[in-house]
Amino acid sequence: MSKRAVDMTFQAIYTLTDIRILLRETAPSHEFDIHQEAQLVRLLENLERQVGSLKQEMLK
């Protein structure tokens, strides 16, 4: 197992934490304005990339 796998695990949790904050800021409706939507898209893309890297590192 690599340091990179550990880093990616933390990164993914941190990205999810940023999504959690977005949920808090928009409670209770969770309706996003244009900036929040763009932020969410960016966070989800990061998350996919981080989980992808994690798969590569841990399942190789």
Binding site: F10, T17, R20, I21, L23, R24, T26, A27, P28, S29
Partner: protein, 395 residues
């Protein structure tokens, strides 16, 4: 969803607008949540603890630097982290109060200040608040004189809350301090609702100690807080240990008895540290918080019979409201009785009001977005209208 055996994952702030009066300023920043994930283990901040082996000397993570930064931010000489403001009160009380000593509190003081005095053997003497629920320098002078008459000496210490927990009113700490210092009474500034919320300058206020609450107002996990002291008082409250074991002849270096050595470790400290840069910034923008609070207050006060029991216009985002002649009237005949208000608020995604409370209750809008404040204000008006209470300016 469970996060442990029998422990439901708490999702209150993700699903609701939370107006609980004591929770608002302690909600974590994203950085605090992230730091806690990395430093949740018990002794996590101690990996690089080197001689002289004390928490506030650790440089990795930058705990030493954090202590200096907080002291400078509060314009005080020295800071220690403590497990909650109450432990700060306790450290000061144990230093200055002996059995039978009179100690000055106020009629709006938090109970933990009383307990700190009691624990040290002191006797509580309260400065009464006036009919506007404000504690004034004149009332402080009068009470000190009364104590002198009763005990033949002035109180040995005074605890003054800058913003009290009951009304969220702002009291003239600088004025009271000026009076107390004429009698050589050291002042403990209780900043549980200000440190981390508003700018606080200990030197400008003239106080001897500043106590802040991490979990109430510094976006930190519980229990956490800070105790700051002036250069003069630092040597007294942060004195180092002198005890020696008679069998082992052991001594304990530079550990401080009032702080119990290294008190605030792991997740609590790292959470407070991670939030600190954001907390420093947010105190500069309290006007935005007051603007959001005004939106909600305007809505509440447009509901016939509703009164603000706190000083008005508001200078803080925690407010005590009287709805005896509005929401409580509905409770008399509503099938859910007093619980209808909480239930109607929850249907609209709002939580934090004490279940069943329709008479006198408190709320806090700190940290809300403007959109959330507008939703909250509209919700109060809508609940009033639905229950036949007149709303000013409504169609």
């Amino acid at each position: 969803m469970k996060c442990g055996s029998g422990i439901e994952a708490r999702q209150v702030d993700e699903l609701f607008i939370n107006i609980d009066p004591i929770q608002a300023g302690g909600r974590l920043t994203a950085d605090a949540m992230k730091a806690i994930i990395a430093y949740g283990d018990g002794y996590s901040v101690c990996d690089n603890c080197r001689k002289p082996n004390r928490l506030d000397y650790i440089s990795k993570p930058p705990i030493a630097e954090f202590h200096k930064d907080v002291a400078s931010w509060l314009n005080m000489a020295a800071v220690r982290t403590v497990p909650g403001a109450r432990r700060g009160f306790q450290a000061v009380a144990q230093t200055y109060v002996n059995k039978g000593d009179p100690v000055l509190l106020t009629s709006l003081s938090h109970y933990t200040e009383f307990l700190a005095v009691e624990g040290a053997g002191g006797i509580a003497r309260e400065i009464p608040a006036n009919d506007q629920n404000l504690v004034t320098p004149d009332a402080a002078a009068e009470k000190i004189e009364a104590v002198k008459k009763e005990y033949g000496r002035a109180p040995v210490l005074a605890f003054i809350d800058h913003v009290d927990y009951q009304y969220g009113n702002i009291h003239d700490v600088a004025g009271i301090t000026k009076v107390a210092h004429q009698y050589d009474i050291p002042i403990v500034y209780n900043g549980a609702y200000t440190v981390g919320i508003l700018p606080v300058d200990g030197r400008a206020l003239g106080v001897d100690f500043v106590v802040g609450s991490g979990h109430k107002s510094m976006a930190a996990p519980a229990p956490s807080g800070i105790l700051a002291a002036t250069a003069e008082r630092e040597k007294e409250v942060f004195r180092t240990t002198a005890i020696v074991g008679d069998v082992t002849n052991r001594k304990f270096g530079i550990k401080e008895p009032e702080i119990m050595g290294c008190t605030l470790m792991g997740a609590t400290l790292i959470g407070m540290m991670a939030s600190f840069p954001h907390v420093k910034q947010r105190t500069k923008h309290f006007d935005r918080e007051l603007a959001n609070h005004r939106i909600v207050m305007d809505a509440l006060l447009s509901i016939e019979g509703t009164k603000c029991l706190s000083e008005y216009s508001r200078k803080h985002t925690m407010t005590r409201i009287d709805t005896i002649a509005s929401f409580d009237k509905v409770a008399e005949s509503h099938k859910k009785r007093g619980y209808y208000l909480q239930s109607a608020l929850e249907e609209r995604g709002i939580t934090g009001v004490i279940p069943g409370a329709t008479k006198v209750w408190k709320f806090n809008t700190y940290g809300m977005t403007t959109k959330q404040a507008e939703h909250l204000g509209r919700s109060f008006e809508a609940i009033a209208r639905e229950n036949g209470i007149a709303v000013k300016g409504a169609d």
